[in-house]
């Protein structure tokens, strides 16, 4: 199929953000995914989130690997550079791009096949390096483009469309990310835009690696009875335990949350993520506790959602650790990079 341009007509009454841009200006090409695909809802949430924080479209870098989810980088913010790379290798491209220019927003869109099978190594190491990016896994438990094979996130006992039952234990990206020390770990559902939009905003602003695992049902290959990743099953077993509000620095208003219930997590630019616990016994800022809590609920078959863990990790963020300058490496003038002929003469002394 060829590229289908989307008509760019904005009604004068459409609301505008601080940059004077409408939501239409954060859209991308027309989606070619199946009608009803959860991924398209996530795309819509990303558009809403970017518009909402008045991000300059050119300041967004959109990265992906291969798969249905990876195609979606073309469907939002056409004013930002996109990079649809190779299967499972998006994190390395993101690392290199981020190393070159620390000033942009990096959003990586991946799937459960792309991140948890072929790309599991790169996913883990991007977390270890604490690359400042938002990493979204559009998780549906199956391979779509190759027609319905189980992915590594398929639950034990879940049924494929043709009846096969999965016997192998799933890899859970949320538990894995907490295990590896990620400071921003969330789970959400493509059908819950109200939860997803502030999570995406907070993830984009979070100074470090931010993961959102979004349960995103595949209407074609994994939305039947017996599947644990269908719309029906997800809605039934879906339990928000912590709400996250993203509060931009400039728009700071009087707290609208009751003291004692809400935990604000400060971000580097002065904005905050306010966590509101829905479960009394849950502390999302303690990584060990959060990990155990989530794991115990998974054992009971419950998908806890929300910003399940959040703590500042700014000190270990890639550029902090590597002491790179504030000016992005790709903008350093050549004179500061080249030591010059005189210095070369001095360096030669060692080799005489």
């Amino acid at each position: 199929m060829t590229f289908i341009p989307k008509p760019k007509i904005a009604h004068p009454s459409l609301p505008r953000n601080e940059l004077g841009l409408t939501r239409r200006e954060y859209e991308g090409a027309l989606s070619t995914l199946c009608a009803g695909c959860g991924h398209d809802s996530i795309t819509a949430a990303i558009i809403e989130a970017c518009w909402g924080i008045s991000m300059r479209p050119e300041n967004l870098v959109k990265l992906s690997g291969i798969g249905c989810s990876s195609k979606t980088t073309a469907y939002f913010v056409s004013g930002g550079h996109g990079f649809n790379s190779v299967h499972g290798r998006m994190p390395s491209i993101a690392m290199g791009a981020n190393a070159a220019n620390r000033d942009l927003y990096y959003i990586g869109i991946s799937g459960d096949g792309d991140s948890l099978s072929i790309g599991l190594g790169q996913f883990c190491h991007a977390i270890r390096r604490n690359v400042n990016m938002l990493y979204i896994i559009e998780n549906n438990g199956v391979y779509g483009l190759t027609k319905g094979q189980f992915s590594a996130s398929a639950d034990i006992g879940t049924k494929a469309k043709k009846g096969e039952v999965n016997q192998q234990p799933p890899i859970d990206p949320v538990l894995l990310a907490m295990n590896l020390g990620a400071g921003f770990v969330a789970r959400s559902f493509s059908g819950d835009k109200a939860q997803l939009v502030p999570l995406i905003q907070a993830g984009l602003k979070y100074p470090g690696f931010a993961l959102i695992d979004v349960l995103s049902p595949c209407v074609t290959f994994n939305d039947h009875d017996g599947s644990t990743k269908s719309y029906a099953f997800t809605r039934e077993h879906y339990e928000p335990v912590v709400e996250a509000d993203f509060v931009p620095f400039k728009k700071e208003i009087a707290t609208d949350y009751a003291a004692g219930e809400a935990v604000p997590v400060m971000l580097h630019d002065g904005s905050r993520v306010v966590l509101r616990k829905l479960a009394e016994d849950y502390d999302p800022t303690d990584e060990l506790h959060a990990h155990d809590y989530v794991q115990q609920h998974i054992a009971k078959g419950e998908y806890l959602t929300g910003l399940l863990h959040c703590r500042p990790t700014q000190d270990t963020e890639f550029h902090s650790l590597n002491r790179t300058p504030d000016l992005p490496l790709n903008q350093l003038p050549f004179e500061r990079l080249n030591p010059g002929s005189k210095q070369l003469g001095k360096l030669m002394a060692r080799y005489r």
Binding site: N84, V86, M95, A100, N101, L329
Partner: protein
């Protein structure tokens, strides 16, 4: 036993030791003190893939004529390793010398009557004078350097000067090392006839020169080219290139005021990630590179195909080692020539550069970044272990402060502001090279980079005609590359009907072989190819000669295959001389190969040698 005729500044020493016993310091000390005496010298390390305990050899060639390759014979053997003793004795050329540790006499093993055997009780001398097992082992090696200093008539003051530089921060070590030198030196003076007919004599042929390895020189080139993102995965024999980059960057790229690092150095989780990071950084406008070896190139191939098709600059140093598979990781070969040129599935070809020595590694590193950005494609710089890890005598590296990087066709903010619409893959200049833009500069510059089928406007396609349009332009771009890659080095008067064509580190051995062959009355032309795709000059040289010896270091004649695939040459004219033992090719191998072939082929002899 016959005494060798006097040969000043023209002989080969080979030192057989055990890996991890500190012999490297002793060997470097010897080589450098010869170099500082103004005498051209070559040092080659044949070491095992091991930390400690396996046999290792070091070969020093003293060459008044400045030949930088192995000659193919050994005049003085220092046999310090009992395990390899028997074969080391066999390796000495008739009339040569064997030096061994006579603390344990080996009468049963000494069966050569055409070799002079010189025993020195090295272990006993060191056991009597040093304390501690480790120190004694280390000093035994320094001690043989002292013996050689006496036998070769080396200046001991120069050795002290070198030790003082090496151990500037640990003066106590200078004294203990000098003590070991003196022990060996004095013993040899008192008990052996010094100096030998094979000895050194002061010359003035090394001023304006340095002894440097290719990995270090290439790393320095990366610093000077303005590379800011280095990503890699450790692999022998490329690791020291990255170590050197880090070390030079730590010296020259830390902001003196803020302490911030004007570079990022990333040890990746594997080669796949390393090249991914390099592509991401280059795509985002930073000069970025990686270094690897054959197995790494195999792993990076998928990404290299993406870089070719999506037109991303990248610089990759392939320090080739012996394959296939893990092969012999610490031995040299030129065995990735084909896998590098065509890395990845589908119709892919890559620009390759072939440096012959460390000096060229420095300049080609800089050129590689310019070419990668000019052509928007990966450039693979094909070193090998011999160039990368051995110290070669080279002319001083020089830098032109007027140099500015060629960033190629990049649209900046002002240019994007002016244009109606930006199309990433449009061939506006009809040279096959499109324009690119960096993220964060201007919303009009945004485009979608993909490895899937795309149109010249940068949009996704599965339309045959639109797909082919881009693929055909990539071919035109590759034709443009022929004019940009470094020109071949051509030598000879062009009148000879026969020629040698070679590549990379074979150069030194070929040059010496040409002299030897010429001394026997056979004059050959010579072309060293320095870049892929092959230029018209390469075509012309091949067309102008009737018999062409292709010298390369692999089993399957990969360079010859590339020539037959990518030029119009009649392959019947090409005759392979293939060296693939894992040791650097020697001049003798080429002389024997060419002369043997010419003698065998009477018709060629009468036609060619006239």
């Amino acid at each position: 036993m016959s005494a060798a005729p006097s040969r000043v500044n023209d002989f080969v020493i080979k030192i057989a030791t055990v890996n991890g016993t500190g012999s490297a310091s002793a060997n470097t000390l010897l080589m450098k003190s010869i170099f500082r005496s103004g005498i051209p010298v070559m040092g080659k390390n044949y070491f095992p893939s091991n930390i400690q305990g396996l046999p290792t050899w070091y070969e020093i060639r003293v060459s008044k004529d400045g030949y930088v390759a192995r000659s193919g014979k050994v005049d003085i053997m220092v046999a310090m390793n009992a395990e390899t003793y028997a074969r080391d004795v066999r390796d000495v050329a008739p009339g040569g010398y064997l030096i061994y540790d006579s603390t344990w006499p080996r009468p049963g093993l000494l069966k050569r009557d055409d070799v002079t055997v010189l025993g020195v009780p090295l272990a006993r001398l060191c056991n009597e004078n040093f304390k501690g097992v480790r120190t004694r082992i280390l000093m035994k090696n320094i001690c043989y350097a002292g013996v050689l200093a006496a036998l070769l008539d080396l200046d001991v003051a120069r050795i002290r000067e070198l030790l003082a530089e090496t151990y500037a921060k640990k003066p106590a070590l200078v004294e203990s090392n000098m003590q070991a030198i003196q022990l060996g030196y004095d013993y040899a003076k008192a008990n052996l006839s010094c100096p030998l007919p094979l000895r050194v004599g002061q010359m003035d042929k090394t001023s304006g020169h340095i002894m440097i390895d290719g990995n270090t020189a290439a790393a320095l080139g990366c610093v000077y080219a303005g590379a800011t993102v280095a990503a890699w995965y450790p692999i022998t024999p490329s690791t020291s290139l990255m170590d050197a980059f880090k070390s030079f960057a730590d010296k020259t790229r830390i902001d003196p005021e803020t302490g911030r690092a004007n570079f990022a150095f990333i040890q990746a989780e594997d080669e796949l990630a390393a090249i991914g990071m390099v592509l991401g950084a280059n795509w985002n406008g930073a000069r970025s590179f990686t270094a690897t070896s054959g197995p790494g190139v195999s792993l990076m191939s998928e990404f290299l195909g993406l870089a070719y098709y999506a037109e991303l600059p990248a610089v990759l140093f392939d320090v080739q080692r012996v394959g296939p598979s893990t092969g012999m990781p610490t031995r040299t070969q030129q065995c990735d020539l084909i896998s590098a040129a065509y890395a990845s599935h589908g119709d892919t070809k890559h620009v390759c550069l072939y440096p012959a020595n460390p000096e060229e590694c420095f300049y080609m590193a800089v050129q590689a970044f310019d070419l990668a950005e000019r052509l928007q494609t990966p450039v693979l710089v094909m070193l090998d272990l011999d160039i990368g890890m051995n110290d070669w005598m080279c002319r001083d590296l020089v830098w032109d402060d007027n140099y500015r990087p060629d960033r190629g066709k990049v649209l900046g903010k002002a240019e994007l502001e002016k244009i109606e619409k930006f199309y990433r893959y449009l061939d506006k200049d009809e040279d096959g090279i499109p324009y690119r833009s960096f993220p964060g500069v201007h919303p009009k510059g945004a485009y979608f980079t993909r490895g899937s089928g795309h149109t010249q406007f940068g949009t996704y396609t599965e339309d045959s005609a639109e797909y082919q349009l881009v693929l055909d332009r990539l071919l035109r771009k590759f034709a443009t590359a022929k004019r940009h890659v470094p020109r071949p080095v051509v030598e000879g008067d062009g009148k000879a009907k026969a020629a040698i064509v070679s590549i990379g580190s074979c150069d030194g051995a070929v040059r010496e072989a040409l002299d030897v062959i010429a001394a026997r009355g056979v004059h050959l032309d010579y072309m060293r190819v320095r870049g892929f795709p092959f230029s018209e000059e390469v075509e012309k040289f091949l067309a102008d000669h009737e018999v062409i010896y292709v010298v390369e270091q692999n089993r399957d004649a990969q360079f010859k295959s590339l020539l037959t695939l990518e030029t119009r040459v009649d392959k019947a004219k090409l005759r392979s001389l293939l060296h693939y033992s894992g040791l650097p090719v020697s001049s003798k191998f080429i002389v024997d190969g060419v002369l043997g072939d010419l003698l065998e082929d009477r018709r060629a002899v009468s036609g060619v040698v006239s």
